[in-house]
């Protein structure tokens, strides 16, 4: 952004620097009835940025189901809220921090964690877990290794310090993310149902408090930056990235929860993207009020800051609190106890304006609605993408050595164990982590009620690229399957939609298709979406990412003792395949490992079979019939079985020749949805088979647990036969080996 000075005439160049179009400028003049001054222009620029206003996505997001029995708060607040019984509620949301993480991986990722955690505790909830969905380019490129190292250290550095465990997530690699890494961070908190707080500035005359870190010049126009493509010189945007202070955040968590517990405040909001501007206008907008700010009272880190900078700074670890009139002293005492800066900088007014003064002059006066609900909305044109590669499966040459290909696949970073990543995260603090990272879903123990919360983050951009609509449905189905495998039923979901430039018609088409596909699946499974985040413009030098929706599903286990994990348990246990048996090879890791290309067609999905599989698993787990369950997804059946072995330390011997009439390589590595590998003791075989019949599912016993080898055979012929420890070593060490040289 070029240097700008106050008092300069607003011309084309300045509008461009603020990422505003001439039409948008005309709309501003119309809405406020005059030319905006320079400060006001800056405020409009951030509030109307794609990042804050959702102007390109709104028309489509409306199609998502948001209501459900358990939903206490849907989209529109800092986070969604869902009832989990016993007077408790969970609060959760996902956010992207893609752009800052590309420019400065450590701080970009760290402040991503900080931001989403603030969104959760502002609702009155104690943050209990983090998960993240990460995507990088291939690790063979040194720049991608550096990015991953920085991002993982940043998440660890921040999350570990504030004492919120990072309990799971997903990490994928594909060349489209090489200069467009994705860092999506999910946080969940727990609150008493009657103690939920909202970002509302209600009550005329109530004091507006500023709490936390001082305001500096960091992060100005961060939201605007995240709303444009990057070019070769994106390095220069480094000053737009903020720097995090997790220690301050930890104090803020404790102090804010204390003022809420003591009933001293009416509303609270994080000063995240667009800082003071967004927090004041959004809280006022929700309450239908106005806010007056005296900028002379804002604690500043640097001298000589202008009102423009103060209003747009994105310095981290700051909160805007609407206090109760008469409780000022008590509020101040709590923050003093925690050694935090806290002062009154303004008050709630009923005039519906954001007004700010600086050294006696009024520097802005804008109707709240003009910044928020009256921001422009675009129904951007879209056009189907036609250049997606597809392959006739029959034409794929049959490989000579499947053993070798199998080892390549389990060592592929997409499939390999992610221990190098999650051992750097404190994933056990708060002592609620029942399943360690790597299981189908993360499971947290709710000590207060003896229940469990299951969480999964899933994306499948390979499928979404091949067919955005079907890909999105498969993603939702996989999430459901993941929480079903641990014994949970779904409560609600959040999503993070990562796409390229929405001004490109094909990108907009992908977006529309993904949202509609996701909506259809959620509607079918009755999963309400309680909020989310859209990240467009994930493009560098014109090269964009695959459509990458990420789905965060939260479910509940009524009794934590019933939780199931994927590891094989005992020698002699029966192994079976249950679900809808298909062996589609399109979009598989197998094709990418052999051809280095993501070929279609995308597998098909039948939502009603998926729902039946969920009901089957719920009933089987409730009746304690199963000893393990693991979803078949990336890498197919062969990888699924192997993981059950690696987790349990027991081998297996299975017959795979009867799983459909397909080629043996498709049976081993196809990634068709709606399939689960289960194991159980012999005595339950009949009951489980009947249960599968009841839910109209395919059911096929394929072998037994035991031994120290992974054996997959077709009749007499051994197709794959390797030592468990050899496979496990490749699977566990692959990422670590690659990351040895940074």
């Amino acid at each position: 952004m070029p240097e700008l000075f106050e008092g300069e005439m607003i011309d084309k160049k300045i509008l461009e620097a603020h990422n505003l179009t001439e039409e948008e400028y005309k709309r501003i003049v119309e809405l406020i009835g005059r030319e905006p001054n320079y400060v006001e222009l800056g405020m409009f620029s951030v509030m109307w940025s794609e990042h804050c206003s959702y102007k390109s996505s709104k028309v489509h997001l409306k199609k998502l189901p948001t209501k459900g029995e358990a939903v206490i708060q849907g989209p529109g607040e800092n986070a969604g809220v869902v009832d989990i019984g016993d007077g408790l509620a969970i609060v959760f949301k996902i956010e992207s921090h893609n752009h800052p993480s590309y420019i400065e991986p450590y701080q970009g990722a760290a402040t991503g964690v900080g931001g989403i955690v603030r969104d959760i505790f502002t609702m009155g909830a104690r943050p209990i877990a983090l998960l993240d969905s990460l995507r990088f380019g291939p690790l063979d490129e040194p720049s991608n290794r550096l990015l991953m190292d920085g991002v993982v250290s940043g998440i660890a550095g921040y999350g570990n310090s504030i004492g919120v465990p990072t309990v799971g997530g997903e990490t994928y690699f594909h060349p489209c993310y090489s200069r467009n890494p994705l860092v999506n961070v999910f946080c969940i908190g727990i609150a008493k149902k009657e103690k939920i707080f909202y970002g509302k500035a209600s009550g005329e005359g109530n004091p507006v408090f500023y709490v936390g870190a001082k305001t500096g010049r960091d992060g100005i126009h961060g939201a605007t930056m995240a709303s444009a493509e990057f070019s070769e010189d994106s390095e220069k945007k480094r000053p737009n990235v903020q720097v995090g202070d997790p220690f301050k955040e930890k104090l803020l968590i404790e102090a804010c929860l204390e003022v809420m517990e003591k009933d001293l405040i009416v509303g609270i909001q994080d000063m995240g993207a667009a800082g003071l501007t967004s927090s004041s206008s959004e809280t006022a907008s929700r309450a239908g009020t106005g806010i007056y700010l005296n900028l002379d009272l804002v604690p500043l880190r640097e001298e000589g800051m202008t009102p423009y900078e103060i209003l747009l700074s994105e310095s981290q670890e700051r909160m805007l609190i609407i206090g109760k009139k008469g409780k000022e002293k008590e509020i101040e005492e709590v923050f003093k106890k925690w050694d935090l800066e806290c002062c009154i900088i303004g008050e709630v007014r009923k005039d519906g304006f954001i007004t700010a003064t600086f050294k006696g002059d009024e520097v802005c006066r804008i109707p709240v609605k003009a910044l928020t609900s009256l921001a422009p909305v675009y129904n951007r044109p879209y056009k189907k993408r036609e250049d997606v590669p597809s392959i006739n499966p029959e034409k794929i040459p049959f490989p000579s050595d499947l053993n070798n290909i199998f080892l390549k696949i389990i060592g592929s970073p997409n499939i390999a164990h992610k221990g190098w990543i999650f051992t750097q995260y404190d994933h056990m603090v708060q002592t609620n982590t029942v399943l360690l990272p790597g299981a189908d879903a993360s499971v947290l123990w709710v000590k207060e009620s003896g229940k469990g919360i299951a969480i999964t983050l899933d994306g499948n951009s390979n499928f979404c690229y091949l067919n955005p609509r079907e890909g999105a449905k498969i993603m939702v189905a996989e999430s459901l399957r993941n929480i079903s495998c641990v014994g949970a039923r779904p409560l609600g979901a959040t999503n993070c939609l990562n796409f390229g430039n929405p001004e490109k018609e094909e990108v907009m088409w992908e977006f529309k298709e993904v949202v509609e596909g996701m909506g259809e699946a959620c509607e079918f499974f009755k999963i309400p979406i309680t909020g989310g985040n859209v990240s467009f413009y994930n493009e560098t030098s014109g090269k964009g990412i695959y459509p990458t929706p990420v789905f965060g599903l939260v479910g509940i286990l009524d009794r934590i003792e019933k939780v199931l994990n994927p590891s094989f348990k005992n020698k002699g246990d029966v192994i079976a395949l249950v679900g809808r048996i298909e062996n589609e090879i399109g979009g598989s890791e197998y094709l990418r490992v052999i051809f280095g290309e993501n070929f279609g067609p995308c597998p098909k999905i039948d939502l009603s079979s998926e729902w039946n599989l969920h009901k089957f698993l719920m009933e089987a787990i409730e009746n304690s019939l199963l000893l393990s369950a693991h979803d078949i997804s990336d890498g197919g059946l062969a990888v699924c079985l192997s993981e059950c072995s690696f987790f349990g330390g027991l081998g297996f011997d299975v017959e795979i020749g009867k799983i459909g009439n397909d080629r043996i390589d498709f049976i081993l590595f196809g990634e068709s949805p709606t399939r689960v590998v289960i194991s159980f003791s012999e005595e339950n075989w009949k009951r489980i088979e009947e249960l599968a019949k009841k839910w109209n599912l395919d059911f096929l016993v394929i072998g037994r647990v035991g031994g120290d080898r992974l054996v997959m055979r077709k009749g007499e012929k051994e197709i794959i036969n390797i030592q468990l420890t050899e496979g496990e070593r490749i699977w566990r060490k692959s990422i670590e080996e690659k990351m040895k040289v940074l």
Binding site: S153, S161, F247, K250, Q424, M428, V429, I560
Partner: protein, 230 residues
């Protein structure tokens, strides 16, 4: 019998420790770092976390908190003190225990279950555990690479102050089983008198079967029995 859990700014295992102690039937209260009164507690626990963000050396700023003066006195009088992870680092920085923590040998934060072998069961913290027993307890730290000069290490050994060492599942002390590069695989030590224990693994994270191990309870249980029998 009452335990006091000290809360420093940035402590984050305070509640975990509380739940674990209460689960063992030990009444527990929190003690604020700005105070000096130990409120009649028989056992003081310095919990894990990132006191003052650990922006300087881990534990050093917390060692100057007002409550640390009372804790030093309490230690000199023979009171039971348990420092876990950051709590151990604070005990080192305040000179109550000898030695120092260096950054982990891999230079990364490590969180995982490890095995530790009980080397000394004549302390109040381990009296009800057999010598040589292997406990499965998680670690979670960046600076757990215990170091002290060789002459002092000899003294530590002579006085039987090494309480826990990292080992493999069978109890063998090996390099592979040493997660952070600690001298002699040291995971926990006591002071000369034996009333102050510092350990890097988190026993409070291994105190409920649903979390994968209950071995941590054995340490809290020993303290409880010791205080009851005293």
């Amino acid at each position: 019998m009452k335990a006091g859990i000290v809360v420093f700014p940035g402590s984050n295992c305070d509640w975990d420790t509380y739940h674990a102690l209460m689960g063992c039937g030990i009444e527990s209260i929190f003690l604020w770092h700005k105070e000096r009164d130990l409120k009649g507690c028989d056992l003081i626990v310095l919990p894990g976390g990132f006191s003052y963000g650990d922006y300087l050396r881990s534990g050093v700023l917390a060692s100057f908190s007002p409550i640390m003066d009372s804790i030093k006195e309490f230690a000199e009088k023979g009171g039971l003190i348990l420092g876990i992870c950051n709590g151990f680092q604070i005990l080192l920085e305040s000179g109550i225990l000898p030695g120092a923590m260096l950054r982990n040998k891999g230079l990364r934060f490590i969180c995982k279950f490890v095995n530790i072998r009980v080397e000394n069961n004549s302390t109040p913290f381990t009296k009800d555990i057999r010598k040589g027993d292997v406990l499965k307890i998680p670690i979670a730290h960046m600076d757990g690479n215990y170091y002290l000069p060789y002459s002092e290490l000899e003294k530590l050994k002579r006085n039987n102050q090494i309480v826990f060492r990292y080992c493999d599942g069978k109890g063998e002390i090996t390099d592979e089983a040493n997660p952070n590069g600690s001298m002699e695989n040291i995971a926990g030590i006591v002071n000369e008198r034996g009333n102050v224990l510092g350990m890097m693994p988190h026993p409070e994270r291994a105190s409920f079967s649903i979390l994968g191990s209950e071995d941590g309870r054995k340490i809290f249980q020993s303290c409880l029995n010791y205080l009851r029998e005293r």
